[in-house]
Symmetry: C2
Subunit: 320 residues, 2 copies
C-alpha cells in the first residue's frame, strides 16, 4: 500500500497541461506497490497510471526504465507504454518528485497462481528477453552479489534476532555463491522482480507485465530463478514442481534453455532467494518512520534458500 | 489508506456471478477511506467501487446506508448508486465481509478548497436534506452527546498526555453542551461527515458526495456545523469567513435557515468540533495492531472547539 505524496488538484492540472490527455476526470491513489506512489488517473482520453517516484528508485535510472518499457511495448511485449508529454519527454516532475504517466493495463494479478499462469509467465518472460536484445541502453544490476553482501553486512548484528545463527548462515551462503556463481551464461535485459503482483491476467491469459524498476542487464536464467521462487512455492513452503515445470516449458517454447543454463539453475535459485532474503532483512530493521509499509518476512526467503541448497540438481525442479 | 482485506480472484469472480456486470477487467485497492476496504472495479459494463465493510460500520446499519444512497440518487442528489445483484439485494458477502458495489463517481476531492466549492457544497447539502424528507428509514446518531461523553471517558486518563488540562477541558465542554444543546431545531437525514475527501468536484462543479456511513437522523443545521469546521478553517488554524459565508449562502439558496437555526450555530459548531476531537482522541490511543492507519490530530479539533467557544454569535461566521 503506498501513496507517499499527496498531489494537489492545482499541481496535477499544471502537470497535465504538458500532455495531450484532456481534462482530469478522476485520480485515485492505489494501494499497491511499495516503492512509489501510484494513482489511477482517468482523463477525457482514457485511463492511465500516474507514478511519482519515491525512495529507492534512483532518478538517474528513470530514463532507462521508461525507455525500456517503450521499447518492449513497441516490440510486442504486453507492458505499460509511457505517455510522452508534448515536448517528447516521458519523465516530468510533479509535487517535487519525478513523475511519469503510463497506459493503463487491464487485468488482475493472481493471489493464488495456477500452473497455466506459470506457463504463460514463462512464455512472456522469454519474449521479454528476446525483445530486450535490440534495446540499446544498459544498466548494471545493483542488487547482485556485491549488493547482497553489503545489505547483509548492514544488518548482520541483528539477523540473529530473527533466528539464532542466521547471520553466520547468510555469510556462509554469500561465500559459497561467490565461488559458485556462473560467469559465462547468456545475459541480457531481465525484469528481475517478476512476482505475481507484477503480472496481470485476464483469466489464465497474461495481459501484461508491470513494474520494471529493478530491470537491468544480468544472466537471463536468473530471471527464471527469481520467478520460480516467487511462483512455485505454496503458502505452506512446499515446492510445487508442476508449476515449475510449467514455467520452464512455457519459457522454452520461445527460448530453449542451453544445457549449462539448466545446470546452473540450483545455484541461480539460491542466489535469487538470497537476494530477497537480504533486502527483506535490511527492510525489516529499517526505521520506516511514519511510512505505511507492510514489512515482508525475510525468513520466507531463507527457507527457500535452504530448499535450493538441498537439491541434487535441476531434476528437483521437474527438469530432465 | 485502507485495504484491510485481500480479495482473491476466485472470491471476486464468485461474488460477481451474482450480478449482471460482465467479466472483471481490473480491480485495484484504493488508498482512500479509513473505515472500509475500497476497490476500483472495472468490468465489461463500466467502472464501479467495491466496498468491503470493516470495523466500526455495524452490519445492522448497512441496509440503511445503502437504501439511503439509492433514495438520494433517485431524488437527484449526486451520489453513488448501489448496484443490485440479480436477486435484488445491494448487500452481499465477499471474503467473509459484508460487501456492496456502487457506481463510480467522476471527480476529485479538493486538497485546498475554494469559496466557490464551499458554496456548491452548501447547495448540495441542502438538496440532500430536502431529498431526505421522503426517506422512510431512520437511524439515530450514535455519535451524538452521549457518544462523545463515553469516548472521552474511555481516554480521560490519557488526554493530558496530549496537552496538560485537556481531560478537564473536555469534561467541562461536555457539561456545557449538555446544558446548551438545542432541542427544537428542524431534524432530518444528515450526512454527518461532509469533509473535503467525501465531496468530489470537476473544477468548481460538485460532481458528487460519497461515504454515507455516518449518515443518521439529527439536527439539519448540525450538518452545516460539521462542514463549516471541515471546510472553513485554513491549515494555519485561521477561520476563513469568506468560505463560511459561501457555505451558508449556498445552503440558503435551496433551504433558507430559520432564525433559531442560525442562532444555534455557535453551539452546534462547538458540538461538531467536540465530536471529532472525541473520536480522534479515542483513536489516538487505540491499539491499531498492524493496521496501516494514519492517525488524525485531536488537537486540531480542540483548537476549533476553542474558537467557537470564543465567538459572540453567528456574526462571527459572516452571518447577519
Amino acid at each position: 500500500m503506498a501513496v507517499y505524496t499527496e498531489v494537489s488538484d492545482e499541481d496535477l492540472d499544471a502537470f497535465l497541461q504538458r500532455y495531450d490527455l484532456g481534462r482530469v476526470l478522476s485520480c485515485k491513489g492505489i494501494a499497491e506497490g511499495i516503492e512509489n506512489s501510484n494513482f489511477l488517473l482517468q482523463t477525457e482520453t482514457g485511463n492511465y497510471i500516474l507514478t511519482l517516484y519515491e525512495r529507492r528508485v534512483a532518478r538517474r535510472d528513470l530514463p532507462y526504465f521508461l525507455a525500456l518499457m517503450a521499447h518492449l511495448a513497441a516490440h510486442g511485449v504486453a507492458c505499460p507504454t509511457p505517455v510522452r508529454a508534448r515536448n517528447g519527454e516521458a519523465l516530468g516532475e510533479l509535487s517535487g518528485k519525478p513523475a511519469a504517466i503510463v497506459g493503463f493495463l487491464m487485468g488482475q494479478w493472481p493471489r493464488r497462481s495456477t500452473a497455466e499462469q506459470c506457463s504463460a509467465l514463462g512464455e512472456a518472460m522469454a519474449r521479454l528477453h528476446e525483445a530486450g536484445r535490440s534495446f540499446a541502453m544498459t544498466r548494471a544490476n545493483d542488487l547482485s552479489l556485491a549488493g547482497w553482501r553489503s545489505l547483509i553486512a548492514a544488518r548482520h548484528a541483528r539477523a540473529d534476532e530473527l533466528q539464532p545463527g542466521l547471520g553466520a548462515e547468510l555469510d556462509g551462503e554469500i561465500a559459497a555463491l561467490e565461488r559458485a556463481w556462473p560467469r559465462d551464461l547468456p545475459e541480457g535485459v531481465i525484469h528481475a522482480d517478476l512476482f505475481p503482483d507484477n503480472v496481470f491476467f485476464l483469466g489464465d491469459k497474461l495481459s501484461g507485465i508491470i513494474d520494471f524498476y529493478f530491470a537491468c542487464n544480468d544472466i537471463l536464467a536468473y530471471d527464471l530463478a527469481i520467478a520460480m521462487n516467487a511462483w512455485c512455492f505454496e503458502p505452506d513452503g512446499s515446492f510445487n514442481v508442476t508449476k515449475a515445470r510449467a514455467l520452464f516449458s512455457g519459457y522454452a517454447r520461445v527460448r530453449p534453455l542451453a544445457a549449462e543454463e539448466t545446470a546452473a539453475l540450483p545455484v541461480l535459485a539460491r542466489g535469487a532467494a538470497l537476494r530477497f532474503a537480504a533486502t527483506r532483512l535490511y527492510d525489516w530493521f529499517a526505521d520506516t518512520g511514519s511510512a505505511l509499509v507492510r514489512r515482508k518476512d525475510p525468513l520466507e526467503y531463507v527457507k527457500k534458500l535452504r530448499f535450493h541448497r538441498g537439491v541434487a540438481g535441476p531434476a528437483a525442479y521437474g527438469l530432465a
